[in-house]
């Protein structure tokens, strides 16, 4: 199942904080019609209650998401931030991470999109894949990495 689209891979998002990052990146999903106009607010609200920052081995990421009712077409928006932004860690809101990369998930039905979820998770747990995402310096190389690993 396709989850990565060239229009949804972005570099250099200059965000002031986690909410700003979510709003800026979510706009890409909204503008291209992947999500409803309720999506960004829903993701921002959910992030405050249930944070999605993840400290991986050599990189901190965040995977903001929300319920499927806000989604039109499943996709993963991959966004590299211009500078790290503080997110709270998933499962442990007291721990803060400096996220450099956002995997913003537009998931409609987790059972139907399980393959995509598995692939994203595989990236998180695969040191070499994480290194590839980290090293990607421009949109094209980020897109190639996302395409290859998530599809």
């Amino acid at each position: 199942m396709r989850a990565i689209y060239e229009d949804l891979v972005v570099c250099g998002v200059d965000a002031a904080d986690a909410e700003d990052a979510i709003r800026q990146v979510g706009r890409f999903l909204f503008r291209k019609g992947f999500v409803k106009d309720t999506y960004v607010d829903a993701v921002a609200a959910r992030e405050k209650e249930f944070p999605t920052g993840l400290q991986l081995k050599n990189l901190a990421v965040a995977m903001p998401h929300t319920a499927g009712v806000h989604v039109n077409t499943p996709a993963v928006c991959v966004a590299k931030l211009a500078h790290p932004v503080q997110f709270a860690h998933m499962g442990d809101p007291e721990t803060e991470v400096q996220a450099e990369l956002l995997f913003m998930m537009a998931i409609q039905n987790p059972d139907a999109q399980l393959e995509t979820l598995q692939k994203v998770m595989k990236v998180f747990t695969d040191e070499a894949a994480v290194a590839e995402f980290k090293a990607a310096g421009d949109r094209e190389s980020l897109y190639q990495a996302a395409k290859r690993h998530i599809g």
């Binding site: 959910r46 209650e49 249930f50 999605t52 993840l54 400290q55 991986l56 081995k57 995977m63 998401h65 929300t66 319920a67 499927g68 860690h89 998933m90 499962g91 442990d92 809101p93 998930m105 998931i107 987790p110 059972d111 399980l114 979820l117 598995q118 994203v120 998770m121 998180f124 747990t125 695969d126």
Partner: protein, 98 residues
């Protein structure tokens, strides 16, 4: 014959991250002879989800502060890969006691 066990996977929205963890647990625990039946829910619906009974443990990626008499395992390490084995061992310890 695989041993059938029920695991409740808890995440913020009861969908995305819990589905990731559920899948990983099914995969990993199958190697130890467990057939995992996973149910996914949000912390707010944990009580309702547990009402059907028979759950061996709760694998949580969002903090669940309430006690329901079912052991909890912090499963965030499954997502980051940093403590995948630890999460697995925590689960096995609980399952083997049954």
């Amino acid at each position: 014959m695989a041993k059938h066990v029920k695991i409740l996977c808890v995440c913020g929205s009861g969908t995305v991250s819990s589905a990731m963890v559920a899948n990983k647990l099914k995969e990993k625990l199958a190697d130890y002879g467990y057939a995992v039946e996973a149910t996914e829910c949000s912390p707010n619906s944990a009580e309702t989800a547990l009402a059907s009974g028979g759950f061996s443990l709760m694998a949580c990626v969002s903090p669940v502060y309430q006690e329901f008499g079912v052991p909890k395992v912090n499963a965030v390490g499954m997502l980051t890969g940093l403590s995948e084995d630890q999460v697995l061992q925590d689960c096995l310890k609980i399952l083997e006691k049954e």
